[in-house]
Amino acid sequence: MLYSQKGMATAPIKTAAGKNPPQGFVYLPLIAGWLFPGAGHFLLRKWGRGALLSVSIIGMFVLGLAMKGKIYTGAQDVLDMLGFVGDLGNGLLFFVSRLLGLGADQVQVTTADYGTKFIVVAGLLNVIAAVDAHNLRTGRKSE
């Protein structure tokens, strides 16, 4: 059965922020932000925020490497698996570091243990930043 929509409310669908639905590939800032810290915000022309996120996340990752932190290469047990997932959040930083053989194979000094945590947390923060870029893109976050 067909109904006429004449006279019915046919306003365009709006997002929570009150804007029209986004056009194009909405996952681009999410993927770009994951691959390179801050890139998702740069795509959305949020230069200041992108720069701060970039400096914070890359700074944390580099400090982790400088402290001889370990980059997880595989998962032997559950904790290793969690660390590996955290490291993966660094996107290209993780893959390039693996290719260049950066990071220690084993934690031998106390600061290396801190460094390992810096690298994992940098990855987790990068995921948060990428999701934030996605939320800005879809209009779930207004500014």
Binding site: L53, G59, A66, I128
Partner: protein, 59 residues
């Protein structure tokens, strides 16, 4: 190799994490700054309190 003291590492960790939390969890720049400052204070204060607790327990 960088030999940071534990406290310097805590400060740097708190600074970077608070920056990301502030930017991602709030919407206006003013609220971002205030929330970042709040997170930084909590990170540092909790590290100091827990350190003292561990020191007292270990004695």
């Amino acid at each position: 190799m960088t030999n940071l003291s534990h406290f310097t590492a805590v400060l740097l960790f708190a600074l970077f994490a608070s920056t990301v939390f502030g930017i991602t969890q709030r919407e206006t720049p003013r609220r971002m700054f205030r929330y970042g400052l709040y997170c930084f204070s909590l990170f540092v204060a909790s590290a100091i309190v827990i350190s003292w607790l561990m020191f007292l327990i270990a004695r």
